[in-house]
């Protein structure tokens, strides 16, 4: 080892040790747990090595429900929130008056606590003995029938969860996109204007490619964030998510570890690794698509 190399490693040592202990070791451990069959956390013993944990998890209806929920959440909220954020950013970018005010208003949810927001949503949507909730009052006003969004039908609960998720992730996306849009030089638009470019073509041929790195960043992190959703569901539907049929994959992992029926680190590890595989695949696919579509 060259001397300069040695020095470099010395400087890196604290970070390497820290990451090793708190990241790499647990990750490796998860992998080990997931293949140890019949692991007993009290006696720290296991019966054999194999894929039983995976087979169990993949046949567990709660897990399948969680996967379904998570996928619905991802497929709906990522495009909707990104699209909505883009629309709002375009709007913000084109107004002059009160721009700062609107930007602040749109950013507020970002600095608000998730659980507090969840409670507010619950109050808006929940049906109790005393009131049907704000949203239902509105629905009634337009002649609709009350729906119990928190304890009612599956689609209603899913709607609230998606709505809530979009609402929570929107501010950050708007923040990123407004600055991305603002960084596109006016000259490009002026050049396009002189050449008689239509508004739509300006958007698709200039604006979109120019902000594509940021857009792509938001989509990737959006996917990953949505796959890891958990606290949002808890905030809305409480801790017994399996009963509410509103569990997510991360929620399932958590329940397997610490929930009322918990204490199964092997199942939890297997589920976590399945989640990892899903997120990894999707991110790789995203990256592959982006090679063609994103202009750095």
């Amino acid at each position: 080892m060259k001397k300069s190399n040695f020095k470099a490693w010395l400087y890196l040592l604290p970070a390497v040790l820290f990451l090793g202990f708190f990241m790499v070791y647990p990750l490796a451990d998860v992998l080990v747990y997931s293949f140890e069959e019949g692991y007993n956390s009290a006696s720290q013993t296991f019966m054999g090595v194999g894929t039983y944990n995976y087979r169990y998890v993949l046949h567990d209806p709660y897990f399948l429900q969680a996967v379904k929920n998570t996928f619905i959440l991802v497929i709906i909220t990522v495009p909707v929130s990104t699209g909505l954020a883009l629309l709002i950013s375009l709007g913000l970018n084109s107004i002059k008056k009160l721009k700062e005010l609107y930007q602040t208003v749109y950013f507020l949810p970002y600095v608000t606590n998730t659980l507090a927001v969840g409670l507010v949503f619950m109050i808006l949507f929940k049906k109790t003995a005393y009131t049907d909730g704000m949203v239902n009052l509105l629905i009634n006003l337009f002649g609709g029938k009350s729906v119990d969004f928190i304890d009612g039908p599956y689609w209603a609960k899913m709607f609230v969860l998606c709505f809530y998720t979009v609402w929570v992730v929107l501010p950050f996306k708007i923040l990123i996109l407004t600055s991305a849009l603002a960084s596109v030089k006016q000259d490009y638009y002026n050049a396009a204007k002189i050449d008689g470019t239509s508004k739509w073509r300006m958007f698709t041929r200039i604006t979109l490619p120019m902000i594509s790195p940021m857009l792509f960043y938001l989509i990737i992190t959006g996917f990953i964030g949505a796959f890891k959703a958990y606290s949002d569901a808890v905030a809305l539907f409480g801790t017994n998510l399996n009963a509410a049929k509103m569990n997510t994959i991360v929620g399932y992992v958590y329940d397997m570890l610490y929930g009322d029926s918990g204490g199964y680190p092997s199942y939890a590890s297997a589920a976590a690794l399945i989640l990892f595989a899903i997120v990894f695949t999707i991110t790789v696919v995203n990256l592959m698509i982006s090679k063609k579509q994103v202009h750095y």
């Binding site: 030089k185 000259d187 490009y188 002026n190 050049a191 396009a192 204007k193 002189i194 050449d195 008689g196 470019t197 239509s198 073509r201 041929r205 200039i206 490619p209 120019m210 594509s212 202009h295």
Partner: protein, 374 residues
């Protein structure tokens, strides 16, 4: 296509909330650009040159005044129907598109009976690419090209839809000296070959003088002088124009006219027939000095720089407004650099005198006539 500007004025609202004062970027600008000529629009930074171009191409609406292309009033027309090509100060090439895609961009916008097929567009793009000599670069991205190449792509993009008028906003300012020289010749060639009426903005007087058919000198939004480059150089209307044109710049002195003679620092240096007694600014072009040991004008010698053909004599004088006086004399007249003093005679047609208040030109004898004749 000839372009006529009539009393063109552009005011920008003040950003400053306290004072309501507006910024007048272009003020009552009137002149006519003859068909097929190359016009150099010249002025210091912030004098309204870019604003002027934006008005002509329609990106900005004038506060008052009219713009005519040929016989058509285009003042209220949007940019896309005016048929102008604009090359931006920083080129504004779309960075995510290749050279070819950049050049095709304006063609793909064409609608109605002007709409072209793919093959026609390609043919057209290749034609202009050849004109500006970038045919081998068609598949490159702007970031993979030199400044000069980018500039040519920008010109190609502006030319491809055959605009009636081509506007260039300081297109050479990002290039190094050598490339600048080369590209400006090329610009001239392209303009000649296409015969498109061209307005070329620059704050570099040499650039404007070297390639323009006509130059327009503006200051703080006001047209100061317009004419053939050499005419404007030989016959400036005011001190600003005199100072702005020429390298090395004109030497300016505080002087006085007494009995139709010009006095600088107490020395009687030149006859100025027809000028009344008054304090004046005297501007002397570097080539207006004649070395003469018995000359009337005495300066303190600082340095002698021999530069090939010419010798540049650097000296000082207490009445000089600048730090140094630069005079260019032919190299045969060797100057002894060890001397303390150097004496000159002055060429009357290279000396201009100006009012000290208005800085307007005061014409006299020889060079008084020239302006009227021309």
């Amino acid at each position: 296509m000839k372009v006529i500007l009539q009393g063109l004025t552009k005011k920008f609202p003040s950003r400053n909330k306290k004072s309501k004062e507006e910024v007048v970027a272009v003020s009552d600008f009137s002149f006519e650009i003859p068909d097929g000529k190359l016009i150099g629009l010249l002025g210091p930074s912030g004098c309204g040159k870019s604003t002027m171009l934006n008005l002509i191409c329609g990106l900005e609406k004038p506060t008052s005044g009219r713009i005519l292309f040929g016989d058509d009033d285009v003042t209220d027309l949007p940019p896309e129907v005016r048929g102008v090509g604009l090359v931006f100060q920083n080129y504004a090439l779309y960075p995510h598109l290749t050279v070819l895609q950049n050049i095709l961009f304006p063609l793909q916008n064409l609608k109605g009976d002007k709409k072209m097929t793919k093959a026609e567009m390609l043919e057209k793009a290749e034609e202009v690419a050849k004109l500006v000599q970038i045919s081998e670069l068609m598949e490159r991205k702007p970031s993979e090209m030199s400044g000069g190449q980018q500039q040519r792509v920008a010109i190609a993009r502006a030319l491809v839809k055959m605009p009636k008028i081509l506007l260039l906003d300081e297109p050479l300012s990002n290039l190094d000296a050598r490339l600048r020289l080369q590209t400006r010749e090329e610009l001239r060639r392209i303009q000649r070959e296409t015969g498109i009426t061209t307005v070329f903005v620059t704050h570099d007087q040499e650039e404007a003088m070297s390639i323009s058919d006509m130059i327009v000198v503006m200051k703080k939004g006001v047209l100061n002088q317009l004419g053939k480059p050499q005419e404007v150089y030989d016959d400036p209307v005011n001190l600003f124009v005199a100072k702005f044109l020429g390298t090395p710049p004109i030497n300016v002195f505080r002087g006085e006219v007494r009995g139709e003679r010009l006095f600088i620092g107490g020395e009687d240096v030149l006859a100025v027939p027809g000028v009344g007694d008054r304090p004046v600014y005297a501007g002397i072009r570097p080539e207006g000095f004649i070395l003469n040991d018995n000359g009337a004008f005495t300066c303190r010698l600082t340095a002698v720089e021999v530069m090939g053909r010419d010798t540049s004599v650097v000296s000082t004088h207490p009445s000089c407004e600048g730090v140094n006086i630069r005079s260019i004399i032919s190299a045969e007249n060797l100057v002894d650099a060890s001397k303390e003093e150097v004496r000159f005679d002055l060429k009357p047609n290279k000396v201009f005198i100006f009012d000290t208040d208005t800085e307007e030109r005061i014409r006299f004898g020889v060079n008084g006539r020239m302006g009227e004749d021309a």
